[in-house]
Amino acid sequence: MSLVSLKKINKFYKVGAHALHVLRDVDVDIAEGEMVSIMGSSGSGKSTLLNVLGILDAYDSGEYLLDGTPIRGLSERRAAQYRNKFIGFVFQSFNLLPFKTALENVALPLYYQGITRRRRNKLAAQYLEKVGLLEWSEHRPSELSGGQKQRVAIARSLITQPRLILADEPTGALDSETSHQIMDLLAEIHAGGITVVVVTHEADVAARTQRIIRLRDGKIATEAASTSPTPSTSTSTSPSPSPSPSPSTSTSTSTSTSTSTSPSPGSEQAG
């Protein structure tokens, strides 16, 4: 059974008198343990799709099952519980609370689980150590670099041990070197068995995932199975290096012309 199952999801934004159709009959299935990227140009609805996945935003029609549970009509309380325990978020703009230290930011999701301060801070220190920022735990976000902020945000997303990490342009505000480190970190998380969904418009970022979902004008353009059906999946025990050869095979199988151009810089960088 898939962890995430979207069937014929539609979403509209009201813009004045008109309704903007941002998601059109989107069907997505993501299995537990997958690492998937959602690609598309700006305005393609990729962030909206991720927000729907994260129960941060509502949808107008269709069916969304998260681990078999229908998400529609979920009470605010239950939605908050899902966001807290099941899902971890990583945002392009980090969304750290500026007045809290790195440690307090990481510990914050546990506050909403009613866990004691001592235990929260102990766990937060462990997760900061995992992302290599233990010595920065007493610093506020303004004193951290972009990459450090994103690592704090990733530590925060992991602290509740979620089953699904949703990353919205996690490297969008970072330089390529730092982007690389962040993607390494996400790949590592994936290797630990957590399902990871990354929204990006950068092909080299998408190339490091197992599968690319392309959105165009709110529709699934192609389900470019970048790695999954090919024999390389068996070798995907080490996720970070393996996706690099696979896009070349996927482009050969995919028919769309847009996909053929995009993975090429990714493969260049990998090679």
């Binding site: 978020f89 969304n95 609370l97 909403y112 689980q113």
Partner: protein, 414 residues
């Protein structure tokens, strides 16, 4: 609900927004402060008036003999009306009259003047009142030692005097004054009683002698300048009727028109007291209203700032929601913040207001204009509770709206 964590979050937020918190607290504290001070001052003014009345019977009517200003039965105007001891008896015979006294102004003028009282080497002018025994009730004289004047004193023109505690202290020091002799206008009087009076030192520095003794000593024949009597618990209308009845009685006896306002001047204390009380309950009302308006201004200030707070924190609310905060978490913390802020500020305003009133009370001893400016603490606490609830509501509705917004909308807020 009241976890240490929550408190740390709230105090942290308040501390981060020091200026905003201070302004909210100020508008709140000011409202309560104004309410307390205004109510206190209103009470002080009222207490002052009540104090002014406290030393006299408020259910009394005073009649002053004057000059005729209207022709009556062919008699000209400008005739002096001269009351006599027998008039006191006539008025006393009226069923509505309770206690009665005449007053003879030994030194002429209004209420007479001061007369030197001497005891050995000590001498000083005091106000000596020539009265009937009923004066005890009209002046609310409080006997401390010995006795007041009695009917025998009046009938036999005894040379006895009742003196106030300060007078006794001046003349005799701490020694017992009862039975001692004093000279009043070079006539020896024996002290038979010591009194106190709630009207303050002015009312205590007096001496009372029988009216008949004074009339004899000061060539007064049987003249009475003034009549005072109480009317039980008669209302304003009743008291006016009684005054008219007494006036008619005296008009008949002394041949002046009962409608002549100058021949016999009437001071109806029942009416005066009620008028004063009405004025001061109006002043109280106005003061209270101003206080309430100050509170309303405080509520508006608090509401405004809480709305800004929620607006300012939309993004933070979005982040917290994405991390798993329920709407109850969000609303609870904002409302609690508002309550903590308004309650502590209200308390400060309350303390400051009561403090100022106590300073005023210390600086201004009770007098005829102004009594102790006390405030009903229940009202002040009630007003604080109103402000706290208003602050909570002011935080509650915007917080509820913010907590219900899709987290992504809140997150987008920059």
């Amino acid at each position: 609900m009241f976890s240490l964590d929550r408190w740390q979050e709230i105090l942290g937020t308040l501390w981060r927004n020091k200026l905003r918190s201070a302004l909210t607290a100020l508008s709140m504290a000011w409202g309560i402060f104004m309410l307390v001070v205004l109510l206190g001052l209103g009470n002080g003014l009222q207490a002052g008036v009540e104090h002014g009345f406290a030393d006299d019977a408020t259910n009394s009517i005073w009649l002053f003999a004057g000059q005729t200003s209207r022709p009556h039965k062919g008699l000209p105007i400008g005739r002096r009306v001269v009351l006599a001891n027998r008039d006191v008896g006539k008025v006393d015979a009226l069923p509505a009259v309770d206690h009665i006294t005449g007053r003879y102004f030994a030194r002429g003028g209004m209420f007479g003047g001061e007369i030197t009282i001497r005891a050995g080497a000590k001498a000083q002018p005091f106000d000596v009142r020539a009265v009937h025994p009923g004066h005890l009730y009209l002046e609310k004289t409080l006997m401390k030692a010995g006795r007041y004047l009695n009917d025998t004193d009046v009938a036999e023109r005894r040379k006895v005097v009742v003196i106030g505690l300060p007078v006794a202290a001046f003349l005799f020091g701490p020694a017992n004054a009862i039975g001692r002799w004093v000279e009043i206008n070079k006539v020896a009087f024996q002290v038979v009683g010591l009194f106190d009076d709630e009207g303050g030192e002015g009312e205590q520095k007096k001496a009372y002698i029988p009216i008949t003794t004074a009339q004899a000593a000061f060539n007064g024949a049987d003249r009475v300048n003034m009549l005072m009597f109480t009317v039980g618990n008669a209302g304003v209308a009743e008291s006016k009727a009684i005054a008219a009845e007494a006036t008619a009685l005296l008009a008949e006896a002394h041949d002046f028109s009962p409608d002549d306002p100058q021949a016999l001047r009437v001071r109806n204390n029942v009416e005066n007291f009620q008028t004063f009380m009405q004025i001061f309950s109006m002043i109280d009302l106005v003061m209270g209203l101003m206080g309430v308006l100050a509170i309303v201004a405080g509520v508006i200030g608090v509401s405004n700032i809480m709305m800004i707070v929620v607006r300012e924190r939309t993004k933070e609310i979005g982040i917290r929601k994405a991390l798993g905060a329920t709407p109850a978490n969000i609303v609870g913390s904002i409302v609690q913040e508002a309550v903590v802020l308004t309650a502590s500020a209200g308390y400060l305003g309350l303390v400051a207001g009561v403090g100022l009133l106590q300073l005023i009370e210390r600086a201004l001893p009770p007098n005829e204009m102004f009594g102790p400016p006390r405030v009903d603490l229940g009202i002040a606490l009630g007003a604080t509770v109103v402000l706290v609830v208003a602050g909570a509501l002011a935080g509650f509705f915007p917080a509820l709206a913010a907590a219900r917004v899709n987290p992504i909308v809140a997150l987008r807020d920059e």
